[in-house]
Point group: D2
Chain length 277, copies 4
């Protein structure tokens, strides 16, 4: 690692280590003047993230956080459609995000809970699409899939409603189980229309038989579902470094999503709508 | 009206008058021994509904409330799919219900508010599909479509989350505006799968041009969108009278939906999750 | 029947009797000054049809032939899309028409063969959509479904290619068997785009399970599939009589489709492209 | 080139040169003991192809012809579905294949005509899917897109019907123009069901507006449409060489498709169904 820090041939570093090592590594490489791409999250603790971002800022290096879904071709097309004004002003967004099956219980233990582990992607997507910060968070959660998850005080099925100051609403629907594959959809309803991104499929045929017309199940894992997004994400990181242009999503995007995750957890605990500043 | 009450040739009465006349008319015809079909709601006031239902019960006549959507072929097929066990245990339901345009402001004034006027159909659908009562209601609402609606203290864009004792979650998403037509969809996510009812279209062609593939917009009104459901609803009413079988949705279904509507309004006012008993 | 002919209260007659009675009945009612709607075909023999149409013409009454599919909402929308110029000049049309199962063998014996019984509807649709007469017919046919049909010298699986003088091509694909229901689709490819009418479904849900996403099978019979078209067809007949406007499809449309059917049979027999004048 | 032939490090050669150099190069590398992948066609002349294949056979090297579409994930899934017996016995196949725009006229001049240049892929697909040789070919063709193509004696819009000895029918529909992108679809109708592969899209969103629901146009070129198939094709070639297993499609597959193309041209010229042995 010392070698990386001291090497003049290395401009940037990609961090894919366990979460609890992220903040330290980011700071270390930032101080060495390296641009950093780090898989989400920077840290599970807001104040640790804030400290880390302060260090990064002081060094002037670029930090990109791995919210890869922004680079999914369908979701990027939804964003572009919004920006082109084709659906008018955003009014309501629905993000459906369901995993095929719960992760191993050992993973869940260290995950920081469903909001910081799973919904965090949807919080970032909500911010990315709406382009306005949220002022209130209202969450609902249950244990319907795996009682072991419940014993940890965590949930496997959750609904979160976010609202902006102007009243735009976002619904996020999460489940740790979907027998039919990795269910990832977005729809945005606006004043002049709506745009939706349907599920991506590994291949697409339709088999007609006496019992009906059957298309194949969805992707079995996020690795195949989001393959293109990982390629595009890395291309963006490299291009931003080479051309010196802005990088996105940034460390502060990572922090903003974490703030929403923590607010969701508080909303559950206190059975009320939580205000976010 | 006296003639109707005294006629021995008339077994049943269909009430499609303004809302504030419903409860009185129901009581009057019930006392005359007539079966009654009444458009929803029985009344906008819970205690008035309770009194009315007590009268009906004492007479022994049948009362059917016009939640016609239960009779929509697609939604009925969703219900059947659930009952056949094809998706396992219900976990999460999403009901999307958007009107093409807000009603006249004069109508809104007497409507009882979005939850008692519009969402009431979705509350009934939620109860119909889930088959379990809800214990908590959490609502979010904005004025995004028509400021006149806001001036009345009402809303035009709303999200409601319902939860049952076992943790099943229902999301209802309402808007008084949809440029692309009457948007009415349901999806039910269960332990073994999911079932969805897509929007019905007045006709179905796909036009491919340089700019893409375009299918026609949705129905412009509920009269065409739910045409079959009205026919089927009436067929059920008549058949239940003729055969002496149970009638559904009943007066108590009407009351239960109203209870949820009132809880949603309270959730907004108090910015918290409201418990329903 | 004498009563019908002599009644002054009766303006029009609807003939739904067996095929071999059609021409005689049409002539008789036409001579009595009644407008006539007759289920297709007028007769299985071209010269008998010609004679009948001569009689009808001499009486000046209106004759409508029951090519109901022109009145199907989806197919009518395809026609309208073409006429609006949205796909430019028609280049190639594909008509897929498959029955769920072969008719009883007794029916097949008197049917006049697959081209005059089944494809006849598609010949009419081809003429309706293209709006130009065909100059050549090339047919291919097999017995793949029911050997009893083959023993009668008839076929159960057929492909017909029609071409207009300007080179527009129509493909018709017929089968007497489709396990998944009544398969009725059209697509029209033009110089500026294409338009297609997908299959109509009795209801529309999508069930997602481990094995995939399944939508229900198609209609089981033409009675449900084409229900609306029968209503619209009759409305057109009545309206044309009441308003004195043109009626369509006419007796000569019936004849033109029969000419194509006979040419298809000849194409098979002679293994060549048959020219039609 | 001498170096390639004499190099002991080179096991296989990939030929992507102009068509008129293919046969010579194949022979030369085959004699040098190299396995050969050659873009279709081996040659535009049947007898030259036969001679070339004789040479290849005498050397014992493997020859693969670049019918890449067999490796498209959707079409491969169609094939698998057929082989799994999910649709029973094949009865009728429809292959739709339309280019966004005609190639440059200089290309058309040397292309060998639409059947040997464009339909050749569909002939191979027909053979691949049906798994039975065809005994008759009936073709229809027009000039609807570009009169320059017609002046060369070639066509831009064509329909070909192929039949096997057992009566299975394949329809191929080709056009050199499709404003909405690269239109590539297959459907296979069998005794127990049907399977279809819809068009692949570069990305998939649905934009709902007053005028309807619009999805993006299709791929603009075969390079993006068939990207995965090229990767898979090459993976198969390399794997077959490394493991010594059968290679497919082979040189004789290339010849068989050419025989069908020539029969189609003859069918047009002689306005009849041509028998193929």
């Amino acid at each position: 690692m010392d070698e990386i820090e001291s090497s003049e041939d290395i401009d940037a570093v990609i961090i894919c280590t366990p979460t609890d090592t992220h903040a330290d590594l980011i700071e270390r490489f930032a101080r060495a003047g390296k641009s950093v791409f780090c898989e989400k999250p920077v840290d599970l603790d807001q104040s640790r993230v804030r400290d880390c971002l302060t260090v990064v800022e002081s060094t002037g290096v670029k930090l990109m956080v791995g919210f890869n879904r922004r680079f999914d071709p369908n979701f990027a097309a939804v964003k572009e459609c919004i920006e082109d004004g084709r659906i008018g002003q955003i009014e309501m967004v629905t993000i459906t995000s369901r995993d095929p099956a719960p992760p191993p219980i050992e993973y869940v233990k260290r995950s920081g809970g469903i909001f910081r582990d799973m919904t965090i992607h949807d919080f970032d997507m909500a911010r990315f699409l709406v382009g306005e910060e949220f002022v209130s968070v209202s969450a609902t959660a249950s244990v319907l899939v795996d009682h072991e998850i419940g014993k940890l005080g965590d949930y496997d099925s959750a609904t979160v409603v976010l609202v902006t100051a102007s009243g735009k609403q976002v619904i996020i629907s999460n489940s740790r189980r979907a027998s039919y594959g990795y269910d990832q959809r977005i729809e945005v309803h606006g004043s002049d229309g709506a745009v939706s991104a349907e599920n991506d499929r590994p291949f697409s045929i339709d088999v007609a038989r006496r019992e009906g017309f059957t298309r194949p199940p969805l992707h079995a894992t996020f690795m195949t579902r989001y393959r293109t997004s990982y390629v595009e994400e890395m291309a963006h990181f490299i291009s931003a470094i080479e051309t010196g242009t802005d990088i996105s999503p940034s460390g502060s995007d990572g922090l903003a999503a974490l703030v929403l995750a923590d607010a969701a957890a508080r909303s559950i605990a206190e059975k009320r709508t939580v205000t976010v500043s």
